[in-house]
Structure formats: C-alpha cells, structure tokens
Symmetry: C2
Subunit: 482 residues, 2 copies
C-alpha cells in the first residue's frame, strides 16, 4: 500500500470503522481478476461503503489523497471493465454493501434499488409484488443493478423491453468531486438541459459512481410458449421477424443460429435433440408471452403467426412447444451454444451489432470474408437477430496450436471482424462495453471525432482521473500526444 492509499484507508476507517476497508489479500483475491480470467489486477484495499453518505466520503477522500478508484459491482464484466490496474495504484470501490431496495410499487410500476442489489434478488422482489423486471442474462446471480446500469446491459428480452437505457427511469450517482447527482425522481418529462442520467448509463463508472437507480417494472408473465422454426437464410429469418412484429407485440425473444451451431450443441450437450429436421441451414427460436388471463394463449398465437410463412415456404419447418418442459428444452439448445463452442476448441468471440436490416447480409458476407482471409478458420454467428446483435465466433483451424493461435492469429482476426462491422455501420461493442479489452480498438476505429468527444467529456467531469482509470478512454494517452 502506498502512502496515499494508507492515508485514504486510515481516514475512512477513523470515520466509519475498520470494516469499511478490506485489506486481507485472501479476501481481496476473488475481486482482482475479471469474469473470464483474462485480466489480472492488483490492489491493496477494497472499500465497501454501505450508504450514499459513505460513498460521498470515499470519493471526497480519494480525491483529496489522489487515489484512483475502480467501482465494482458483481465483477462480471466481459471486457475487464471492473478489474483494477495491475500496478496496484488504485483501490476497489465495491458497491455490494449498498444493497437495499428503497421502494417498490405495483401502482406506478417503479422501484428504487441501490447499486449493490443483485439482479436475481431484484427479479424476486418484482415477482413478489406481481410484477417483473424484464432484463435477464446469464450472470443474474452475481451482476448488480449498479453494474448493469453502468454498462447499459442487454440480455435476452431487449427485443421487446430494450436495454438498461430504456429500463432505468432515474439515477443517483456520486460525482468525482463527491457531490450527488440526484436523478431518481422518475420524471416522464424533464427538459432542464443535458440528460445526466443517460450520460451516466453506460459510462462504465468513468464519470460518476451510480449508487441507486429507479427501475421500470412490467407485467409479470402468466404463460409463455416457444416456437422453433427452420429456414434457409438469415434474410428469411428477418422477413419472418418483420411479419411477426406487424402482428403482435407479445414476442419477447427472436434468436437465430446456423445449422452448424445446432449440430455442435447436439454433439456436445447431453440430452439435447433437434426440434425440427436439422437439415435446414438456419434456425430461429421465438418466445411469446401472455401477461394477462385475457391475453391470447401464446402457443396459439405462435401457431397462427407461423402458419402463413410455412404455407408460403418462407419457413421450412416449425414446431411450437406444447409444455413448459419443451419450452425449456428449446432454450437449452440456444443457451448451450456457448458451452458447445468451447467444447469444440479454440475460438475468438465478438460481441457486435449492426442495424437490424443490415444484419442478414453481414452474417452472410462477413463469415465468408473471414474464412477466406484466415485459412482454416470457421465463422459462426448466432444470437439476437431482432436486436441486430450476434455473437460472432471464429474457430481456430482444427490443427492449430491453441496458445499460439490465440497469441498470433486472434488479434488480427478481431481487427478484421471489427473492420467489417464498421463497414456495415455497426458497433464493435453491442452489449459488453469497452472496458480495457476494446479500448485500443475504439481508439483505432473511432471515428476520431467520437473518441475526442468522449475524451473531452471524461476530462470535463473527472479531470483528475479518479474513476476507473484505463477504462473506456484514457486521458494520459491524450496528454502524451498533445
């Protein structure tokens, strides 16, 4: 611990008790590496305030002693966004003890949850009042409201309900100078200048520390059904989606995968079997829900929605789940892709998006372009077609040495994939953010005016680089150049 860090820890302990700072290396260890184990950080201390006032004090004191802070929730970042720098210069600011649900009401369908509330717990709280928080993802048992808001998280229900940006109605945050941005009041109309709530959502903790959020709740799901439909191209899948969108808003998921990915799941995940003939080249999973006893039964709705496309030949084959167990079985295939891909061997993954209408062409052309340029690789794209967001995996050649391939080939492949994404008008980070993993790619692909603007905002609100140093945009780099 350097002298400044010592001063910070001592001053906070003197005021709030020893428990506010954890310095035992064994206790710190789980919070130093990222979710996928790609980034290893170091820190002598983790600060765990349990109230807004304590967070204010942490920021004010950290500013006074010039100790950078790395805000952290469930530490489930996919891009090293919550991992402290490896040189030990920063301390972790954990929000996990700020975990109260301050209010939750079925009347106005709003809740105020503190940053440390875990997503799964919040799902339960919403369910307990007959409502639902419609954002879900694999890390629900660890991810926190603060982290989800700070990274504008997405998940599997974005098609109908949007990302966190659409679900957060208000934000409370502590700014780098220790002052509070109180934006929790869920005003439907508020035109008092720049929208600071929206600026903090997705800022990855680089502009302020989100301490609580007002969240929208939606009607609970009464029943659901899942359809599986097979076709020959992503273009046909998009046509099907557009037809469905014109007829209903009860569809909450529309997921696409190639036969290749389905085959991989069937081969590697025990107990899975193909819902329809696996000979078709592309497959989609469609979930529809009923939220009210008066709503149409989702299985009837899906059957109706698929009848004409089947007759017209747009869809080659389709089934609708007849039970919750069958619905689960269909989802198990979709959720099994990532595991089955890992079982197959080395691959490099990309979290990318494009305008929805441009995605089928991207899926057709980008895969072919990568395979042509990097001999022996195989590209597999699957995911949220309705959001214009796919996981784009590039598998290593069968004979490749894993370690060597990751070090020597993967970076060039990633740059090539990102170049294709930019050409398609898309984003090199659909869901995961920039963190440290994509920082150089953001810098490379900009465009330059965008990066300059991000940097100007960072410099304006956190000139001392107190918050999450080295993530998203760096200031030191700019100073070096100018």
């Amino acid at each position: 611990m350097n002298p400044s860090q010592h001063q910070l820890v001592d001053s906070l302990r003197a005021r709030f008790g020893a428990g506010i700072a954890e310095t035992d290396p064994q206790m710190l260890a789980p919070w130093l590496a990222d979710w996928r184990g790609r980034f290893q950080g170091a820190t002598p201390a983790m600060l765990s305030p349990s109230s807004l006032e304590e967070v204010q004090a942490v920021l004010a004191q950290a500013g006074a002693f010039a100790v950078p802070l790395v805000p952290q929730g469930g530490n489930t970042s996919m891009v090293g966004g919550a991992t402290p720098p490896a040189d030990g210069s920063a301390v972790i600011l954990s929000l996990r003890r700020m975990n109260r649900i301050r209010s939750i009401s079925p009347e106005d369908s709003l809740a105020i949850a503190e940053a440390g509330v875990i997503l799964a717990d919040f799902h339960d709280a919403a369910g307990a009042i007959g409502r639902r928080f419609p954002l879900d993802l694999g890390s629900r048992g660890s991810a926190t409201i603060g982290g989800l808001a700070s990274t504008n998280a997405g998940g599997t229900q974005v098609l109908r309900w949007g990302t966190m940006r659409a679900l957060v109605a208000g934000v409370e945050a502590v700014l780098p100078d220790g002052s509070v941005h109180d934006g929790l009041s869920a005003l439907k109309k508020d035109n008092r200048g720049y929208d600071l709530n929206q600026l903090l959502i997705g800022a990855e903790g680089t502009l302020g520390v989100i301490t609580a959020a007002t969240l929208r709740l939606v009607p609970a799901v009464a029943t659901r059904a899942v359809a599986w439909a097979a076709m020959e191209s992503p273009d046909q899948a998009l046509s099907l989606l557009r037809r469905i969108e014109r007829q209903t808003d009860a569809v909450e998921s529309f997921e696409i995968m190639p036969a290749e990915a389905l085959a991989s799941v069937l081969a590697h995940i025990p107990g899975t079997r193909a819902p329809v003939d696996a000979k078709h080249r592309w497959h989609v999973l469609i979930e529809a829900v009923a939220t009210d006893a008066g709503d149409r039964a989702p299985e009837d709705l899906l059957a109706d929605l698929l009848r004409q496309p089947l007759e017209a030949g747009l869809v080659g084959d389709a089934v609708v789940s007849a039970s919750e167990a069958q619905a689960e079985a269909f989802w198990r295939i979709r959720h099994g892709i990532s595991e089955s891909e890992r079982a197959r061997g080395a691959a490099v993954q990309h979290d990318i998006s494009a305008p929805v209408d441009a995605m089928p062409r991207f899926m057709r052309e980008a895969g072919a372009a990568i395979e042509a340029r990097f001999a022996g690789t195989q590209a597999v794209a699957y995911g949220h077609l309705g959001d214009g967001n796919v996981h784009f995996h590039v598998r290593a050649p069968v004979a490749a040495d894993r370690g060597h391939w990751y070090a020597s080939e993967a970076p060039a492949i990633t740059r090539a994939v990102h170049d294709l994404v930019v050409q398609a008008g898309g984003s090199i980070s659909a869901e995961h953010g920039i963190g440290q993993m994509k920082r150089d790619e953001l810098e490379r692909l900009g465009p330059a005016s965008r990066v300059a603007t991000l940097r100007a905002i960072k410099r304006a609100l956190d000139p001392a680089v107190l918050l999450n140093p080295g993530k998203l945009v760096t200031l030191a780099r700019r100073l070096d150049r100018s």
Copy 2:
C-alpha cells in the same frame, strides 16, 4: 455587421454563392423575435446551408472568425431558445433548407429526416407509407425535426410513445469544431461509451447542430374514440389512469382539467358545450385508438374501461364519443383552454412536471399555496396527468393593472411556483426547455452540482461558446465568478 461577421459571410458566399447568407433586414425580421414575442433579438445575417457539408463549412468558418451561431428551425421556442442575442453579435444558422427525407421505410419502421423537415410534412410522409410519427403539438406547421430533437419535444401522445428522446433512434450533428457526429445508424445495441445521441437530444443546440435524425414510426391509427369522465379530485383521476394502464396500452392521451377551466372554455369559445354535467370538480379526456382491423373498437374499449369505475363511484359521470365529430368536439374543449385563459385576462404560465404519483397532491396543494400567498390570484392547473406534466396558470387579480402586474408580481409568483415544484421532486421545465427564459431559474434552483456539471460539459464541447450563446447555461458567468 462587424468585421468578423463580414469575413464569415464573404468567405461562405465565395464558396457557396450569395444565397447562403441573407442580410436583408426585412427578410431577417420574422426570425428575430420568439414565438410569443417576449424576446427581441438582432442579427445582421442568417446563414442557410442546404447540406451537411455546408453546415460543416459554416461551423468551421464561424469558429475561424469567432462569430457565434444561433441554430434555428421553425423558431417556435417557448423560452427564447432560438432567438439571437439583442446585441447583434451572433448570426442565425437556419436549418430550414436542409429539408430532405433521406429515407423512409415501413419495413424497419424507421425514417431519416433532415433537421429542416417540418413536423406536419413528416406526418404526411409517414402516413403515405401507412405509418405514423406519434409526436404532435400545436406548432406542427412550423416546428422542424431538428428543433424538436434539440429540445426533446413532447406533446399530446407522450403517455404511450414518449418524448423525442424515445422516438429518435439516431442523430447526425456537426460539432463546434466542424467535425461530424454520425450516429444515424439505428443500432438497438451499442455500448461504445457515452451516448452522444442522447447528449445532443435536448441540448438546445448548445453542444452541436443536429442536421438529421433517424426517427421511429409506429402503426397508423385506424379508428379512435374519446371519452370524457368527471370526478371530484386529481387523486381519483390518477386512480382511474392506473386502472386503465393495467388493462390496456391502447390509450394514447389522458388529459385533466378543473371545472374552472371547463367553465372558462364554455364561456369564451363559441360552439363548445359540456360533455357531462359541469358540476363535477375535475374532468378528464381519454383517447383510445385501434391500429389494426383486428383490434378492439376503441369506443367499446373505453366504455368497458369506464363501467366499473362508474359503478364504484370513482367516476361521477362519463360519456364516450359516438362519432369522429364528437371526438373532435371533446378535444376542442381541451385545446380551447389556452385561448379561453387568454381571453379571461392576465395570467402567468408555467410548464412544469412532477413524478406522476406526486402530481395530484401538487395540484391540490400548490394552487392553494399560491392563492394564499398572492392575494386575489387564482391558480388553474390542467394538462397531461399521465405524464406528470401540467400547465400551471396563475391568473392576475381581477382589478390588477396588466402591465404593472406582469412586471411587479409575475416574477415572484414564478419563483414561488418553481420552489413548490422543486419541493415536489419535479422539473421547472417539463417540455419547453431552458432557453434564455428559464436560465436564471435553473441557476437559482440547480442544484448547484447539476448546473456545474452542465457547464463543465458545455465548456468541454464548445469552449469558445460558438453555439447558441446565452442559452441554457452561460460560460462567461462562471468565468466571472471563479
């Protein structure tokens, strides 16, 4: 024209022809005062670029010659937001010649409209492809897409569709240094740092000049019906709204007015008559729509929605329009309030919001508080209850001298109303923005950390104060103080 302005005009004319700059005082006159005639500005020139490249050149040259620019669309600001400073130091940058609809598609329900497209024309364009742009307001024949986006405009359909912030899927803007922010690609997922689109929406042209926007379209209205319901309190009106929201999403408007406002309309607007017995203390107008032949008939839906509340005594009396003419007649009452209030005499108006659940209490208590403090005044609140947004009028005492009252009493009343709004957790600008009219009140009520943050962002992106000087936040003032 000062020498810098001369250089700017000459350089742009040399490059793009004489027509890019208007300097004839008669032609400039209509664009120098605001919509309500409260602010009178002056300028020697209005620049009217017709392409993105020309806007870039205007900003680059204006920066080079240090001539401030006042971006202007339809000049319909209610807060003097598009009026040039009175000292003639700035020139107007009119976006009205950038008025192409670059693309519009029923497939993905998106359109790209340039900043100068007039709202009414855009409504027509959406209608021509069987869709609808669900934002409407009184100035539809003048207001432009760029102005609507720059001020995060609302209107009468916010309840279901949200403000411009929810309807704008992408933004193209020229930044103060002449570089382009190209955010038109309507990505549903994009986590590459701070959301610059959202930052520019509602920024009142102080951070960049919006040149085009990608806009969401929704299904066209097939049929509509309007209900009129009477009750005894705003609390009952909110209970009714909450019941309705749980049962349908087909309701697009929920407007409230006191008996006092209804009586004023009946007395001053020819051809109006009370839909129900005017003895009830509060009245609401509810519009429901069907967008598809398969949807429930809106008149049946409204009748069903009101049956139980009538039986339970929540609603004292209610009728549902039996024809489009009757629906129009109900709306004429609502739209007549503003005119009838003007006919009654002097009043000071406020565009304010509060959390929806807090609004009934605000309506009850704030009116009484103002009337008690300012003897002889009468407070009337009406408008968009479902958005937590009402027009709050305070009428002058009957015997008051109009001019004297506006000068001596109105400012104190406005400050008192704003204090009550802040206490209720609300906003002193729900729809109209800050402009120059509310700038001092924003400064007064802050909170200070909010104003400091707005100012830091302004300074970061437009350090030379090239864009819309004197609006929203001032930089000179801060420099004076520090």
